[in-house]
Symmetry: none
Subunit: 212 residues, 4 copies
DNA sequence: TATGAATGAGGTTTCATTCAT
DNA sequence: AATGAATGAAACCTCATTCAT
């Protein structure tokens, strides 16, 4: 998570690199998103920041929103293997879930622009839900669901609740926490926050009764 | 929750009713929001739907976004007393919390436009967080926090977690569930969903070990 | 035919007049068309000439081409009753045809912009053939056809040729003549030219053999 | 008229063949012109259809319009000798004219793209009238005029009409007929149509009175 | 209270075209 | 002979917004 800007990457891992103009454009948008929201960023601004002409944006991207989705996609493609890697060698479904929650928090903590895009910007665009990056997000979701299902299977997680609801509680908690901090530009402590959220989500908010 | 459109209401509960033009404008926006997102609704469209001229919108509202915030505010002002009412006479903090969660789910379930505005649209506007409706939302939040604090005080809720984190888990779960259903226009069953969420949030997702 | 610019007219003869901005825009286009072809006229130019903003063009017209079609439509609506009037009280189909040919030549002679639009500009636009003004042009065509049919009926015009072909020869001759003169900005003498064309079209180009 | 696409030809009949890239570009434009009008064909489209880069277009052609004119020129250079050939050995000016009319109709009938370019597209470009292909078209025109002059000389054609007017009637009729059919993608029967047009143009539309 | 007319400002996008390689 | 990258210039168009009435 030490490379917050995963640009200048190859097309398909082994493919050819993106042309410099394209790279500068995505970098420009990323940089602008740290300062203002997508809606108030103009293509003129992006082009100027990138040091290219506005026309070049439309050479590489269908439109302004496509640019945003491409940036988001690159982030997601960058983080997916990392998160999968993070899970390697971990025993126990709850431990995996804890790690996953930490990974998520960590990504949002380290990469505010990514968090902003995902938690604040794209959600209001109806075409986001049929976009490429949304598909990737769903793949993330699938990983979470698999871990939960595994936990139910092996008895670590209660079996009286629809695993998708469990996932929504887990992800809802993480996103709610990050959303608030992202909006007000407050830092996120992944270690601390991850531990606390796990405590709540794993054990519940009820005070343990006698003998427990 | 039988009046999903709380329009034609008075300015400040006892104040004078809104002029018909204003009412038609807010109604028009509400109606349009069922079909498309705020960003792709134009003032021309709002005016046409309302059967007024675009200029009239600016008679009553500072700008387009102000119109959205006013609509949201009217919703919030309409729902706040109801939710407070719902809590009356309930004993026990967890019972109050359960009721509150149900109330929230119920409002989102019944009033999709309200849910859309609050969960999808306004969040990406940075001036939302200094707007009037945001203040009202914070008041809602305060109620939740009070109940949690009360629960911690009286021993119903665990005291080892920051109550604000507990609130975020609770609200995060609700909003995550509603968000998904609102986006894909799927119905929400407040009774069922409220019960399930309480189960998860109150007791945690861990399978209780023997003797526990 | 003394009013080459038939603007500032009412919407539907008795309807309300066009707003001044709209009038200035159509006048501006008309004026620009005397100097250059439609393809090289920009909306910025039209707006400047009209003394309005570019945006106003799009208030009144769907796009630049729609503006052209509207101008053409206004011309056609202006000339249609005149041409019909010209035919009043004329006896004999050939006489009517002669008058009609003269009317056409006269309009093209007097109103070069109209001629330019109709003979040079719109024809290359495929959507012209589904446009409103094209419908009006077809109505003109219908009048010609009716006269020819009448002439065939009453024995003035030969009955061994499809009347539509006759119309095409008649109109083709007129348009060819006007086209050339319009392109090279040469004047058209409707009287002289009408007479000559009638001679050719009515009697044919063959030198009459003795006794014929 | 069996080779509707006269491409892959040499520069000046005996010159060197065009390089493959150039050929593919003109072929691409020709092919695109069957589907849409020149104005809505983009260089990007042409390049893609040709399987070359846009830049290559500018290697071989001054600009997009020059490409169109070159295509038109190649057509004209291809058809000129054929039409001249067609006239060989024909006796009588009216017979020559008939043949010429048939030849024209036949070319337009067989080669719709050529017809489209000549009758619909180039006419609206003011620089067309100073272009190379326009010179070739004028040479065609010259042939027609020569035949008419010859006919007047030898008494076959009436001598009381300016031969250029006669030419305009003849060519106007042909072009009018072809124009309509080209626009609406209707077939042209050169034999039938040639005969009919000759009947009209040669003898006139007036029903011959008794004794005439 | 409401409107008709018009605008400012900029937005996105297109497209022919060039240049270094 | 051909290309990949990038551009200039403008085109078209949108839209929130204002103002005189």
């Amino acid at each position: 998570m030490e490379t917050p800007t995963p640009k200048r990457r190859s097309k398909k891992e082994t493919g050819r690199a993106f042309p410099p103009g394209r790279i500068r454009i995505t970098e420009a948008l990323t940089s602008l998103l740290t300062k203002k929201d997508f809606g108030s960023i103009t293509t003129a601004e992006i082009a100027e920041t990138a040091g290219v002409t506005e026309a070049l944006i439309y050479k590489y991207f269908k439109d302004k929103r496509d640019l945003l989705y491409q940036v988001l996609r690159e982030y997601l493609e960058h983080y997916e293997p990392r998160i999968k890697m993070d899970l390697r060698g971990i025993k126990g479904s709850l431990n995996k879930l804890r790690k996953l929650m930490w990974s998520h928090l960590n990504v949002y903590a380290k990469d505010r622009v990514f968090a902003k895009i995902l938690l604040l910007q794209v959600r209001s665009f109806s075409d986001y839900y049929i976009s490429e990056p949304y598909l990737l997000v769903q793949r993330f979701s699938g990983i979470v669901l698999d871990i939960i299902a595994e936990g139910i299977e092996n008895g670590e997680i209660r079996n009286d609740i629809d695993p998708r609801i469990i996932r929504q509680v887990v992800m809802g908690a993480i996103e709610q926490v990050c959303l608030t901090n992202v909006v007000f530009n407050r830092p996120i402590q992944p270690e601390e926050m991850g531990e606390t959220l796990c405590q709540v989500v794993f054990k519940g908010i009820t005070k343990n009764a006698e003998g427990r």
